[in-house]
């Protein structure tokens, strides 16, 4: 089978996903173009250099609607002969873009692809695309629909994670992210965002709070207690699905959950020929990809079964993996992953994660692939696994190997 290689990976800095966030003024198409143009310039992507741009994006309405992928290509300096494919697998959309591109290459459908994604959460609010799963009674009731925050708290309750454990993980994520920025660990991938005149808009991750400590987190109120216990009372749905639980412990809050941010990321993927054509050296091989569906109520445990599946499919062991990126959607998601596989936190999210830097939904998957690749190279390790939990109960994973 043809191998799929990663030739390059870039990302924008992440802006606070609010009206006062630095990237709030930048449109989704322009932010996408920042990442696409960087890949083009760094890798001489002239003409029909790649087969497609596979672009992850979750809230596909308003300016992110109408096949944003194609709009992004047209807004960028890429040639108009390159089409665009918008895809949505919620929080893993960016990783799924990488996996789809890799499997296209492996299957022989052309030499190269750009995979990545974008989310302008300050401009197109999360959830503004509606969705039947929450409101169609036949679906919501049959599937015991609860929002993700409740699911994260169910994980904590069911698997015994306390508020202190979650807060400690959050403090560590902030510490690691600051240390990584200070040491320049992200410098190879970061592409600053400039305005039309070349003036800088954002050059660094804006969401981080390195001063965070247990005490400051202790002052935060749980985010999902009200909707769980009072209106509309999602905890009762959780207990219908998990009747062995007496109650749901609401441990998650703004400080130990992923941040709402704006950002984009892009990865250049291709076979050997692509490298030869462009004069590039492959940085890593995509060893394996996997996706799976899980119980939609607890929803966010997907990284566990999808990791089991990717190991089974590839004949590998968790112990083979040198470094892990497990998206910090909520602290309990990462804790559950480490608990299930008995993986030391020293190997997981070593440069911090979404709790510290934020989680631009459609872009995050490709961002953590880039972060994993950079860190494997920096620390001279071989194998890395990236995985994310996914809305409505799914999981996705990718194993990369340096070459």
């Amino acid at each position: 089978m043809t191998e799929a290689y990663i030739y390059d990976a870039v990302r924008t800095p992440r802006g606070k996903g609010r009206k006062d966030g630095a990237l709030h003024e930048v449109t989704a198409a322009r932010l996408s173009a920042v990442a696409l143009n960087a890949l083009k310039e760094r890798n001489n992507l002239e003409g029909h250099a790649v087969e497609d741009v596979i672009w992850g994006n979750v809230t596909q309405v308003a300016e992110q609607g109408a096949c944003l992928a194609r709009t992004a290509v047209l807004a960028s300096d890429l040639d108009e002969s390159i089409p665009g494919l918008s895809i949505n697998r919620f929080c893993a959309s960016g990783l799924e873009a990488v996996n789809v591109a890799a499997n296209q290459v492996r299957g022989g459908a052309g030499n190269g692809y750009i995979a990545g994604g974008v989310e302008c959460m300050s401009r197109v609010p999360m959830g503004s695309d509606g969705g039947a799963i929450a409101v169609d009674p036949s679906i919501a009731i049959d599937n015991y629909f609860v929002p993700q925050g409740i699911s994260a708290d169910i994980i904590a309750t069911k698997y015994g994670f306390t508020r202190d454990m979650a807060d400690a993980m959050a403090v560590e994520s902030q510490r690691r992210a600051k240390a990584a920025w200070d040491a320049g660990h992200f410098s190879r991938s970061i592409v600053p965002v400039y305005d039309v005149n070349g003036l800088p808009i954002l050059t660094h991750d804006e969401y981080m709070r390195p001063e965070t400590d247990m005490q400051s987190l202790g002052a935060l109120n749980p985010s999902f207690k009200q909707m769980g216990e009072v209106m509309p009372g999602f905890d009762k749905i959780a207990i219908l699905k998990y009747p062995e639980l007496e109650r749901v412990n609401h441990i998650h809050h703004a400080g130990n959950s992923s941040g709402i941010v704006d950002g984009a990321s892009a990865v250049l993927i291709g076979n050997k020929e692509l490298g030869e054509q462009l004069g590039l050296k492959p940085r890593a091989r995509i060893r394996a990809t996997a996706k799976i569906g899980t119980d939609p109520t607890i929803m966010l445990t997907g990284p566990v079964p999808v990791t089991e599946k990717i190991m089974r499919d590839s004949g590998m062991q968790v112990s083979d993996i040198d470094l892990f990126e497990v998206n910090e959607a909520f602290a309990s998601v990462v804790m559950r992953f480490e608990q299930a596989f008995n993986v030391d936190h020293d190997k997981v999210n070593v440069n911090g994660g979404s709790i510290a830097m934020g989680h631009p939904l459609g872009a995050t998957g490709a961002m953590i692939i880039g972060a994993l690749l950079d860190e494997l190279e920096r620390s001279d390790k071989e194998l890395g696994l990236a995985t994310l939990c996914i809305g409505s109960g799914m999981g996705a994973a990718t194993i990369i190997e340096r070459v």
Partner: protein, 732 residues
């Protein structure tokens, strides 16, 4: 023969009057619908008619609803393809109501058409309110006793003749929810306030006539261009939150056990996204889906048809003349006695409430005063009504006051000796023909009757607590109890407006016989290390109001312990092994006596609210590493009760299967969606039930052994409602 008449007058008003023969309130039949349709056609086609008034010939009411017997039969009559038969039938009803609503208007311009008013002398329920909803304006008599609404959900269906679609479009999903999902009924003033009806009037007919002749605008909002649903459709931001919340509320409040509420909500959601006529079609699809669910026929059968039959004396000895109670003596003014005095006074009887001293008797009477005070505070009663009630109750320690009573209900301490003494003393005072009843919950009536000089006049009338709230009364025939005593008890229960069942005397009679094994199964699981949350939640998900552990807290741990000890003493070596007893005795010794002690299986806060399971329980009985599946816990809880119901039938304790089902739902809230324990067995099928109980017996013990009757029925593939059909019994 028709229930409808059409009258056209000189002013150009056609009045269609609904008057179902032989009924105090109008009920709709298939023929009735067809007649109404023809008359509307006639009036719309007649150029001399300017407008139409639809009204009722009954004083104080418009209509009570659909004849539920008709709905129950609709399925059977639908032929080989019941879904299609029902769908076509319901769509025909929509066509008639839509014809009223459109009234001959041009479909494109909304021009033309004749105004149609509905004049309602009072109560309008179910289809009796869905017809007015399709009219252009509703005029209701100023009749505070009238009830208006859509109670269909209470019998396991939902408003399926456009009521769901019209009310949501009229009020919005949020505002319509209590009327559709809870079947909330309103008096005319409240109905107007809520927007259910248009006018409350002292002379609704005159007002309606004036309105009809005023050339009013008759186009319904949802037939106007640009109609927007109040509160927002599902993908409008506000509507999104409403619909998100609605699924959560319906799911958590029904615990997923009542299919009708979910189907209703689906009809509302899907209907909100399409034009009105398509929404009616969607409503029909879900309505038919609900009718095809065995739960709806079982609920209609038990909660409506059979409950009413029992209340009307289906099992009353026919040749005994009316035994209406005039003066009742209640012995013992404790909680049960006080409650019995209250409900008897409410029914207009003269009550003598006896206890050993004046203070104790007065305390029992004060219960009625407190109850009425609460009613006054909630504007459900008046001070005059309270005085009237209190005047009916004589509280005294003097047995002589019982002279002239025609019924005695004894509710003294559960001790055979105390009861025997009271029986003798009282029989010395009361008239010879007075019926003597015991409210015992555990002692055999035949044994208690031995203290009576007139055992044929001795009977059990078993109330549930709290008396004023619980809907069922269990009447127990002792060996020598005569027909007049049974008729007396039934007539009394009818007077106090409760539902009776009549059973033969046996340990724990019928209801407690089933409840006790249910509680014991829950206790046993605790001792096996099953999660207490799983046990109570499993029961709630079956549709029980409370799980066995919570039930134990409510009824009190020491009562459970007392019953266990007494039963053990009475049964000797026959007493079955019961690890739950050890648990209950331990709880009693720990002082965890239940809610009354603010400490039981659950912990309680100062206000008596449950805060969670008592951690001491988990220390004594640690959780097992492997927890059973929800389904297995549910099967154990279900069969522990249901098999007792089968055995009660097998042993002749229960004589009529309707009583087994209706009694179970009303007495202890047995999964109402199932229609009762025997209906549930019919639903899952006796062959499957026999197979499952055999498997449970192999795994958990002989208490789950398939009763011979069930095994035989399973082998033959019989159902209870075929083999024990009450009609067939009468014919035999």
């Amino acid at each position: 023969m028709t229930d409808f008449t059409l009258n056209k007058d000189a002013e150009g008003i056609a009045t269609i009057t609904w008057d179902t023969e032989g009924k105090s309130m109008n009920v709709m039949s298939i023929q009735g619908f067809s007649d109404l349709s023809d008359m509307v056609d006639d009036a719309l086609a007649d150029d001399a008619v300017k407008g139409i008034i639809i009204t009722s010939g009954k004083e104080g009411s418009f209509a009570g609803g659909m004849d539920l017997n008709v709905i129950a039969k609709m399925k059977d009559d639908a032929g080989d393809d019941p879904a299609k038969g029902l769908f076509d039938g319901v769509m025909n009803m929509h066509a008639v109501l839509r014809k009223i609503e459109r009234a001959g208007m041009d479909p494109k311009t909304n021009k033309g058409g004749k105004p149609i008013a509905c004049v309602m002398p009072g109560t309008a329920l179910g289809i009796g309110f869905e017809i007015p909803l399709s009219c252009h304006r509703t005029f209701v008599a100023n009749n505070p006793k009238a009830k208006i609404g859509l109670p269909e959900i209470m019998v396991g269906i939902f408003p399926g003749a456009g009521g769901t679609t019209r009310l949501v479009r009229k009020l919005g999903a949020m505002a319509a929810a209590p009327f559709l999902l809870q079947g909330k009924l309103s008096d005319p003033a409240k109905a107007k306030q809520a927007g259910l009806i248009d006018e409350v009037s002292d002379d609704p007919m005159a007002d309606a006539r004036a309105w009809v002749l005023s050339e009013p605008n008759i186009v319904k909002p949802w037939d106007e261009k640009g109609y927007k649903m109040p509160g927002g459709a599902p993908y409008h931001p506000a509507g999104f939150m409403t619909f998100l919340g609605a699924s959560v509320m319906v799911h958590s409040e029904t615990q997923g056990a009542f299919p009708a509420a979910k189907a209703l909500l689906s009809a509302v959601y899907e209907g909100a996204l399409v034009p009105f006529d398509t929404a009616l079609k969607i409503e029909t699809r879900w309505f038919v889906h609900t009718l095809l669910n065995p739960s709806s026929s079982a609920m209609i059968r038990s909660l409506f048809i059979n409950k009413e039959a029992l209340e009307k004396g289906a099992v009353r000895p026919a040749d005994v003349p009316d035994q209406k109670v005039r003066k009742i003596g209640v012995l013992g003014a404790g909680m049960m006695g006080a409650g019995i005095a209250l409900v008897s006074a409410q029914a207009g009887m003269e009550v003598v409430l006896i206890d050993r001293d004046q203070a104790a008797a007065d305390k029992g009477k004060a219960y009625t005063a407190t109850y009425m005070d609460k009613g006054i505070a909630r504007k459900k009663a008046t001070p005059e009504k309270k005085e009237e009630m209190l005047a009916r109750i004589t509280a005294t320690p003097d047995l002589d006051a019982l002279k002239g009573c025609d019924l005695i209900i004894e509710a003294v301490f559960e001790d055979p000796a105390v009861k025997a003494e009271m029986t003798k003393k009282v029989e010395a005072v009361i008239p010879e023909d007075c019926i003597f009843a015991s409210n015992t919950s555990t002692l055999p009536i035949t044994d208690l009757a031995k203290a009576s000089a007139r055992p044929e006049q001795f009977i059990g009338i078993h109330f549930f607590s709290p008396v004023e709230k619980m809907l069922l009364v269990e009447i127990i025939k002792g060996e020598k109890t005569g027909d007049r005593a049974v008729a007396k008890a039934l007539d009394y229960v009818r007077q106090i407006r409760k539902t009776p069942i009549v059973v033969n005397d046996a340990r724990f009679f019928y209801c407690n016989r089933c409840i006790i094994p249910y509680i014991n199964e829950g206790l046993r699981m605790i001792t096996e290390g099953v999660s207490p949350s799983l046990i109570d939640n499993a029961a709630r998900q079956l549709g029980f109001p409370v799980g066995p552990l919570q039930l134990n807290d409510e009824t009190s741990i020491d009562l459970g312990a007392k019953i266990a000890r007494a039963t053990k003493a009475a049964m000797g070596d026959d007493y079955p092994d019961s690890p739950g007893d050890d648990l209950i005795f331990w709880m009693e010794a720990e002082g965890r006596l239940g809610r009354k002690a603010n400490a039981g299986f659950y912990e309680y806060d100062d206000k008596g609210k449950r805060t969670g399971f008592w951690p001491g329980l988990g220390e004594k009985y640690p959780l097992a590493e492997d927890q059973p599946d929800l389904i297995e816990v549910q099967e154990r809880l279900m069969f522990s009760q249901v098999l007792e119901a089968v055995r009660a039938l097998e042993e002749g304790v229960v004589m009529d299967i309707r009583e087994a089902d209706v009694g179970a739902i009303l007495a202890w809230g047995f999964a109402p969606w199932s229609g009762g324990p025997l209906s549930w067995l019919d639903m899952i099928g006796t062959p499957y039930a026999a197979e499952r109980t055999a498997a449970l017996a192999a795994k958990y013990g002989t208490r789950f052994e398939t009763p011979a009757l069930l095994k035989e029925m399973g082998d033959k593939g019989q159902s209870f409602y075929t083999r024990f059909a009450p009609e067939a019994e009468k014919a035999a």
